[in-house]
């Protein structure tokens, strides 16, 4: 009797869930309960796949998240979200299924116990497999590139920039090397909050518009390759300013979602490239041809200039915010240096970028630029990006679930009840 295997990537921002063995998750929903202005109670958010026909007004929606700083601290809330997920969206019965669940590395025992209780006692899954998201990413990339160094050595460094934090995790033979994991406490949530703070001071108060600012961040923010040059460019007035972009806030009447006013010109920063000079002359002619759109006084608009690249810049230097933590390049170097010296060249050659916050444009180029001076000359540095960083972990889980000896690796409900949570966990991580 083959159970169907549910692969659930329980992230701080989004839950990705679906059947094991499939190519894509069935459902991607935000991992929260939100309360829009129109209702008094907290309701479940709609799945992301139904993007266009969602007419729920997301402005000023209050949000309650079960995951705080990356770890599950509110099991009751998570239970509600999961039960909604299992019954209405996935339509499975937990008692006849196995669960493959992801959990961030280095969790604390009380959180682990709460998670186990939630899975076995509240839902009654027949068996459970816990994985670190980074080892799943490694598995997925290794299966996609069979001839590469990655899969031949079974070893890689996964840089996971998620919602709550960013980890640099060396993975060897599908196990994470826990003593070498390094973490920066910056993630999608911190970026959105920082953007909210900047915008609220400089134009309109958007401190309670989480979803709107998330959208603005995803559409408009990018990583600058040359900070001083970009700061100078952002200061220029109208014609010379290739970085300035306008985001139109929803007004509830004509449109309920915000949008970028001129998506074409928002992409102009891509022409700037790695050089130190200003934008090329080619660009100027393009600007003349495009009709200058006047500011529409009826709509609320926010102008974003240097916020567009100052926000992701904090990932490379958290000291900008006042945080006493090293940036992404140093984090990678420290993680690799904590490993055995034989592994170090291999790790530098197979750095995998994953997680939603790696979708900022030009992040890979900037990271290469920053990392190269810090790595000894005789090591090669090679960075691999995934084609879909958000779904990467889920797909790895799906690959793992379809492997033939998956069932034997799980912990069954009977074993959990007999041995308890702590003993069962030792099967997964050492």
């Amino acid at each position: 009797m083959s159970n169907n295997i549910v692969v659930l990537d329980n992230g701080g921002g989004l839950i990705k869930a679906g059947q094991g063995g499939e190519c894509d998750p069935l459902v991607v929903i935000p991992n929260c309960l939100f309360k829009p202005l129109s209702s008094k109670k907290f309701i479940f958010p709609p799945p992301l796949s139904h993007g266009a026909d969602v007419d729920i007004d997301l402005t000023s929606a209050a949000v309650r998240r079960p995951i705080d700083r990356g770890y599950l601290i509110n099991p009751d809330l998570q239970r509600d979200i999961w039960s909604h997920l299992f019954t209405s969206l996935l339509r499975i019965t937990p008692t006849s299924s196995s669960l493959l669940l992801t959990e961030p590395p280095l969790s604390i025992p009380s959180v682990q116990r709460a998670t186990d209780e939630l899975v076995f006692e509240d839902f009654g899954f027949s068996s459970l497999y816990l994985a670190n998201p980074q080892s799943l990413v490694h598995l997925y990339e290794a299966s996609r590139r069979p001839g590469s160094i990655l899969s031949r050595t079974q070893c890689s460094l996964v840089v996971d920039c998620g919602f709550s934090f960013t980890h640099a995790v060396p993975v060897l033979h599908n196990f994470t090397l826990n003593h070498a994991i390094k973490r920066i406490d910056l993630g999608g949530k911190a970026f959105t909050n920082y953007l909210k703070e900047l915008v609220s001071y400089r134009s309109i108060n958007v401190m309670d518009q989480t979803f709107l600012m998330d959208d603005a961040k995803e559409k408009l923010c990018f990583v600058s390759l040359h900070l001083h040059r970009d700061l100078n460019l952002a200061r220029e007035r109208r014609n010379g300013n290739v970085i300035k972009s306008t985001y139109v806030l929803p007004d509830g009447v004509t449109h309920t979602k915000g949008y970028v006013k001129d998506p074409q010109s928002a992409m102009n920063f891509l022409t700037l490239g790695l050089s130190d000079e200003g934008p090329n002359t080619l660009l100027d002619t393009k600007l003349d041809n495009v009709e200058r759109k006047k500011a529409d006084m009826n709509k609320n608009e926010i102008d974003l200039t240097n916020e567009r690249f100052l926000v992701p810049e904090t990932l490379f230097q958290p000291a900008d915010l006042g945080m006493n933590q090293a940036g992404l390049a140093e984090c990678i170097v420290r993680a690799v240096s904590s490993c055995h010296s034989y592994l170090q060249p291999v790790l530098y050659q197979s750095i995998i970028l994953t997680g939603g916050s790696t979708l900022f444009p030009q992040l890979k180029e900037r990271l290469e630029r920053e990392l190269r001076p810090l790595v000894p000359d005789h090591f090669d540095v090679k960075i691999i990006t995934q084609e879909d960083p958000i779904l990467g972990v889920w797909r790895g889980g799906s690959v793992l679930a379809s492997s033939p000896d998956f069932e034997s690796m799980c912990v069954t409900k009977a074993e959990y009840e007999e041995l308890g949570s702590a003993r069962c966990r030792r099967r997964f991580f050492h």
Binding site: C32, A62, V63, R64, D68, R69, G70, Y71, I73, N74, D76, P105, L106, S107, I108, P109, S110, V111, H167, A168, N178, H179, I181, K182, R183, I184, D185, K189, A190, N193, K196, E197, Y201, R202, M207, D208, Q209, T210, H228, L231, A234, R235, T305, N306, E307, L310, Q317, P318, A319, D320, L321, G322, N324, Q325, A326, G327, E330, C331, R334, A335
Partner: protein, 171 residues
């Protein structure tokens, strides 16, 4: 906290202070208060300021659930005032934040060869030189306000700062 309250002359009018600011105010240095409060604010789920009465009980924790902040907003519409017991019950029912759970597990006492959440934190940066950005326009800042310590880049930004935001965090 009680000694501080006794030394200051507390007015009978309840003063509303943002909860993170209230936590920061316990330290004496204004500038570190503001810096710590800004970093804590980055971890907020909701952007709205959670309102805490300064003259409130010791029992209600400052890191309370977001719900209480919103219920308090509606209080003016005449909903029942919560008794002290009810408030304490709610404070106990609200899930603990991760930082509280972390302190409970007391990770510093575990043996040093075991990896743990605390050891995984990437440490301080290797160069302690920071870049400062103007709080008004975002350009590289060269100067800081002598009163509150916020950065600005030029006189125009300094004037804007003085008019709008200087001393906002100090009671």
């Amino acid at each position: 906290m009680e000694e501080e309250m006794a030394n200051r002359r507390v007015s009978s009018r309840t003063r509303k202070v943002a909860s993170k600011m209230a936590a920061a105010l316990t330290s004496n240095d204004n500038r570190t208060q503001a810096a710590i409060a800004r970093l804590e604010a980055l971890e907020n789920d909701n952007g709205a300021v959670e309102v805490v009465d300064l003259n409130d009980d010791e029992e209600t924790s400052l890191d309370e659930d977001d719900d209480l902040g919103y219920v308090q907003k509606k209080q003016y519409k005449g909903s029942k005032r919560k008794t002290r017991q009810a408030k304490a019950l709610e404070a106990r029912k609200a899930p603990k934040s991760f930082t509280e759970l972390l302190q409970e597990t007391n990770l510093e006492s575990s043996p040093s060869h075991l990896p743990s959440y605390l050891k995984a934190a990437v440490g301080p940066p290797s160069s302690s030189s920071r870049r400062h950005f103007c709080s008004v326009c975002g350009y590289i800042a060269g100067y800081n306000c002598c009163l509150c310590g916020m950065r600005f880049c030029c006189i125009r930004c300094q004037n804007i700062h003085k008019d709008t935001r200087c001393q906002k965090f100090v009671a």
